[in-house]
Subunit: 387 residues, 4 copies
């Protein structure tokens, strides 16, 4: 890699939560520079945001269409290398398609699109263009999640039997969508959010994490979706029994009305020989429970040989210097950037570089939402996974 | 109370786990003395156990029938006050019925009987005799569980929306029933255990805890039961989606093949205003999460006015002097003993004394097992609770 | 052991905290019965307490002198086997000496006496009589403390380098001794408490724990004692730098004015190869940190071969069924009772039975107090341990 | 702020730990760009490192002298705004002095200099030039540390009585300085490290944290320094009793031979009304213990009004999205950068911007080392703080 990659951002103007997160993550390792942006559909916000981010006026655009066209017209030594899309769910597909059409690689905030159909079209476009898409399923960027995956893959836990994944949040415990909370408003609006609010926003993270770590695929779901806050027009809570293609069973719980919870994503995976437990609030720790041995505490950044290369590759600091959510996010950007650089340089990326969520994860995320919604509407116990 | 109550024990000979636990719990507060026993169906063990427990030979019996008849013939100043039954599940009903017929109160290890039908007959017998039955659902004996119940009852959490209860154990991760583990053997034998092994052994604890704390009743279940260890003849893992009569939703997970887990019963209950979390491994702590306030850590034995009378009544030590499983068990025995003494003295017990699991809990436990098994065998998503 | 041992109690009437704890601990295992008592210097309380504890009137005494004489006159088949002394510190010595003179073994609440001089006389009396004294340094009764000791002894941690022991409490953060708190009143009264309040009450526990686990002896102290609550007449806070006879260094902190702390005794011991950490609030866990291996979590009651016989001998329940303070206390009573029974039966007790605190611990406790007070009054950095 | 600030780095070439950390921290918020560097005294490493960091060849220097002179000669629109010094301790002073002489602001890794004398000269130079120095005492950059400081300042804990600060690490448990560990080698070399290895490397962090949170100043120390690894030529372990100018007492423990510990900096501060506890391994949590109220868990990023403006100003993510060591480090860079921008723009920085460690902290750090070393060499118990 002999230069920074150039990023153009769609969405993410001032006061948008996730856009700022993407920039922090992209900045961190010094491999990416923000070069242009269509940061808001509100022109004033777009311009003010560009200024605050030190973008030149000439590359502060008012629409993504304008940005993509203008950037495509720049010489390759200036033009952006990829477009990052951080708009609400319903506004992912169009800019992503256009970016690909103009030859730009793409980073998209999850869920990948508004519907499974859109995701399939996007997948086809990627296959046609050979471009790269990165989906920011942040949680699979944590080193100890990668360590868990490596331990399963290497058979350390034996055959996997049981998966428990839960994602309780509390921030939608009141009708905040009617009290001026913009993030709550679009997430609970069926026209902007998708078929399921809770599964689109957080359930897909949980499902992706379970499949990422175990390497197994969900084959059947038995789901209940609920609206537990009176007056809300979409679901805010759900639970899903799961069957996986390796014969293991699972339970997935996602709720945004668990009052008092922050962002308490936790996963436990049990095999014949032991189990792992990982909790996002304390992400540098992987608890490994053994059948007839004391539990072990594996720690990110430790250097005594117990961590897989996929874990250590994604640590920046030694043990006891906690890395967090932004570093997990940055790992996804960094691995994407390194992979893209290799492609640009005609070099083969390492397996560690290639370890970031892709369109396949996006497709499965949308299929998961569809499957859960179909099951929730069915009287039958089990609904086959729809893909 | 002007004398110790006298206990006769059925089962619980040397090397039986739960019998020893019952004795420790009954001893602790100095309110109960072990006065007689039919401690094993093996006469040698019965006699050796009686000797080791300092029972007089005359009151060391070889069968429960012999014990009940002989004790009934003793003068009231010597005769036992109650019979404690700590045999495997299939051998609860007969001694309990006979004890009641002979006028003895009864303590039974859970689940109350082998089948729902037996439980109903036992309930009828109790109604006829006016005697008292205590069911040792240990976990509802913990002070911080009682605190959680009090907080829900007093509306501190607002209307309850969501219940998550889980009970992962790992001790049946191998086919230990074929390797000489007697406890594993009868628990996984359908002739001795009941309709479901995992639900009978631990699922009923989880269900009782959920209903105890919330005061709500399960109305519908959607269950999956699995045998995850190859070769086992009963289930060893299960998950159940729940509906409650107050409109809240729940998830119950019970498994005995979560390799590396000990006895990790945990419950979380969320209402409009906040939630509680209680974990049996650290039972003196109740985590209270508030919607827009910092989380609080309530601690058993604290004396600054934040604990309900039901919690403090069941604490023996000040904060920071941890009480555990045996004390929770002893609370059940103590409250039963105090209630029984009041009855003997013609006095009304206090609500705190009456706070121990009864035949109603036993009945619901058996109905829960039946409901879960019916649901697990059904293609329909929801099965109404069978009672 | 073919009968229960008979205990006579001095002090511990109604509303006395530690007397009730001693009875709970003595009851638990069914090896000891409370047979007589001189439970209060207030005759009304003494009589009411005896009645509440189901003592016969004939063995409810008004003074310890009366009790000891009367019991000594009973036939050996009825007479108490030992005297338990649970009075305030200044009132330990006289009843202990008299009990020994009349041939009774003795259990004493710590600190053993009011002064080092008394402790030395008591030691001499024990040597002369050949009787047994048990000192209830509760914290060395915990199984995972015994595990820590075993690991040090077996060299698992390598040569010991550093000991950190701390005992923060908060219950004396206000002048509660002037607000009717009887326990605070005598503990902060130099006539009843001894030379140092904080070191007598909790510092000796910390020092005993450090020496118990490491097997090393303190040789020099550098101490600071403070009175941090204005108006108090004794110290309520202290810190001590330590040197041990094995060349290791230590820090001991004991304070009763750490507002908000309960009974937060914690010890950490580090050797060449690793360290252990034990925290009394979660006593069933021993954290073992290794130099170049993941940290391990050792758990009381686990049965897969990682615990020493001294730990497992003192566990009553399997892993995940938490035992607490009362069980640690009961371990001391049980081991004392088993040792005493062996002596009565002319049998050699096992090393596990003999593992309870003795007069030697009491002597060192008093010497520790004296040493710390001398150091606190000195301008020299180091004061040699006075024994 | 209308442009990024330009940074020139001294030290921090490839494989240097702390240089990479500084760059990650400086990058994160997009306010600073690395514009030049004298990254190593080894020319090959300097050049390779510059290339890897995408520095232009023209601004990749071989010595700091060269860099400072060349940058000073650039037009102000290109020239660096500040110099960051990340060399070993002995090589801080000279480049810092030269940078100031040439009009550059300075960021220095702690401890500020090799000796107290150097620190005093540096302070004088700063006073003369009016330039700004930022010292990267990382731990005071954590939002919950700032929250603790705010709570003390606002009197929430009442008058402060007791401070416990500890910093156990284990990475020097073997003689790694002789096994090729470069970081260990210079830190244990008296010519490069300073008067005390353990106090210079980590003890100053602990002391700075204690003074930062409490707002009190250490007035007297009673110290013990030890070399616990045989063969080492400097100390690797220490403990210090402290007196503060507000009458409170403290204990500071710093050790690099606590085998199995990572970077376990913890501080507890107790006042009349309660205490706080903060642990660097889980930095987003501040435990607040109250005298007669349940303990509260304050969490970084929470938005319900319990955090001071100094805490929230230094959070980038909402509660439950953990920030870590790099974000704490980045807070120091960000606040420094914002302050510097205000100065450049002639605007007054806010108190939140000004909240980064300065030369005063550096001076006190050096005085702390001198005081501890003097005390450790003295037979007197207390040594007055030397400043």
């Amino acid at each position: 890699m002999n230069r920074k990659l150039r990023m153009g951002m769609v969405g993410g103007g001032q006061d948008a939560f996730i856009g700022a997160i993407h920039r922090l993550a992209a900045n961190m390792d010094g491999l990416i520079e923000l070069s242009s942006g269509a940061l808001s559909i509100n022109p004033e916000i777009a311009i003010a945001s560009g200024k605050a981010l030190f973008l030149p006026e000439s590359r502060t655009y008012l629409t993504y269409e304008e940005m993509i066209k203008a950037e495509a017209a720049l010489p390759s030594s200036e033009r952006i290398d990829f477009v990052t899309i951080v708009t609400p769910n319903f506004a992912h597909f169009a800019p992503a398609m256009m970016a690909l059409d103009y030859g730009f690689n793409v980073v998209i905030e999850k869920p990948i699109t508004f519907s499974l159909e859109e995701a399939k079209i996007l997948k086809q476009k990627l296959d046609e263009t050979g471009l790269t898409l990165c989906l920011t399923h942040t949680y699979s960027g944590y080193p100890m999640v990668k360590q868990a995956k490596a331990m399963v893959r290497e058979g350390k836990l034996g055959k996997i039997r049981k998966v428990l994944v839960e994602y309780p949040q509390g921030w939608l415990s009141t009708l905040s969508e009617r009290e001026g909370n913009a993030g709550a408003a679009w997430r609970t609006d069926p026209k902007k959010s998708g078929k399921s609010a809770v599964m689109g926003d957080i359930g897909t993270h949980a499902a992706q994490l379970a499949e990422y770590i175990t390497g197994a695929k969900i084959t059947d779901v038995c789901a209940e979706l609920s609206t537990l806050v009176v007056g809300r027009v979409m679901d805010d809570d759900g639970a899903v029994l799961l069957k996986f293609d390796n014969g293991s069973k699972g339970v997935l719980m996602a709720s945004q009305v668990c009052a008092g919870e922050e962002n308490a994503l936790k996963i436990r995976v049990y095999g014949e020989k032991g189990g792992i437990e990982w909790f996002q609030h304390e992400p540098n720790t992987l608890i490994v429970k053994w059948l007839n041995e004391p539990t072990q505490i594996l720690r990110a950044g430790s250097n005594y040989g117990h961590l897989s290369s996929f874990a250590t590759y994604n640590c920046r600091t030694p043990g006891g210097h906690p890395e967090g959510y932004l570093e997990a996010f940055a790992n996804i950007y960094r691995n994407f950037a390194l992979t893209l650089s290799c492609k640009l340089d005609g070099v083969e990326p390492t397996p560690e570089m290639l370890d970031f969520p892709s369109v396949e994860d996006g497709l499965r995320g949308m299929a998961f939402i569809d499957s859960v919604v179909a099951s929730a509407q069915s009287d039958k116990k089990w609904t086959p996974y729809l893909l």
